[in-house]
Symmetry: C2
Subunit: 195 residues, 2 copies
């Protein structure tokens, strides 16, 4: 069964070790921020620094794992039809829009959509780590400069993950103009039980 995350919203749910999670960009050019917590001890969470270290690359895709702050494998990426994801930038937050985009008004954000959905599991805003930004097209120059470019994902592109431990997952349809080329689209996901 496919579940839809409406534009500029989020979801949170649990996976058992062995379950597969398919994150789909149904219309193309949309980004989904994902954070992971060990369902049996929420102090263990996904770590960009550990993942980049163990996988030895900035660009995380098929064949790589997402690692925790305790150096454990949380997920494996089994398939990735688009192939471009970002693990450098924090989820967009109210301050992203105020500071980077000079927008003082209220703006929905992945950070808010993550922590409000994760609250049911006792996870607080301060616990939300740097997200794995599925389909996000962050380019880096030789001098280190970053640019957030329109996603390369086409309608129907997906990334298929396998849980390597029992997990709490936070997942969004990104709220930031620059991440999704001003398109604000939904994201879909499907859980395939490993049992």
């Amino acid at each position: 069964m496919t579940t839809r995350i409406e534009k500029q919203t989020g979801a949170a749910f649990q996976l058992k070790a062995g379950d597969k999670l398919k994150v789909i960009d149904p219309l193309g050019e949309q980004v989904s921020d994902m954070v992971l917590f060990n369902a049996n001890d929420k102090r263990e969470r996904v770590s960009s620094g550990k993942t980049l270290d163990f996988e030895n690359t900035i660009l995380i895709t098929k064949g790589h794992h997402l690692w925790s702050n305790r150096s454990q494998k949380m997920m494996e990426i089994l398939e990735d039809t688009n192939g471009r994801n970002d693990f450098l930038l924090a989820p967009c937050s109210p301050e992203t829009f105020q500071i980077l985009y000079n927008n003082p008004d209220y703006h929905p954000s992945c950070f808010e959509n993550l922590y409000t959905n994760l609250a049911q599991y006792g996870i607080e805003p301060d616990d939300v780590p740097t997200a794995f930004n599925i389909f996000m097209n962050v380019q880096f120059a030789a001098d280190g400069e970053l640019s957030v470019d329109p996603p390369l994902s086409k309608a129907g592109d997906y990334v298929l993950f396998e849980a390597k431990m029992d997990l709490i997952v936070g997942l969004t349809a990104c709220s930031a103009e620059q991440s999704n080329n001003y398109s604000f689209k939904p994201i879909e996901y499907e859980i395939v039980s490993g049992g």
Copy 2:
């Protein structure tokens, strides 16, 4: 007064807003991992994802700030005589040596040296974020591949930081062979009171 952190060890101390911290590589080719916490609320800590996002570059140096998970400025970099630091990779940990370097024996690590020194402030291992890796020379290829190269720092190179809030600081002289070209050297630091 200059304080020495002996090779493969660490330190933790407090700074007041306005204090300056000079981190010195006294012999050259050594790395120092630094983590920061808000001294008045330790759940606020330095964030690589927020820093890369707000500074819009992978290479953080003079003129940049180190940002927290609450989108606040924790430190400003006033001077940087070497100019190459890393904010991608997690502090080396026991698992770094076991998994990346295939070394099953005990090995000192920045992670252990951070959390053991930070314990006096009630900070636990799970609270240690990705560190700002001063002098660390991580090169990234166009395809995203990372390589940990010998530091470019010469004897006496330093980075001068200014605290933008009251801080708890964890600081190490790095324990990893690959980070410091198998040299295992000390790090020195000096605090200049802002008052």
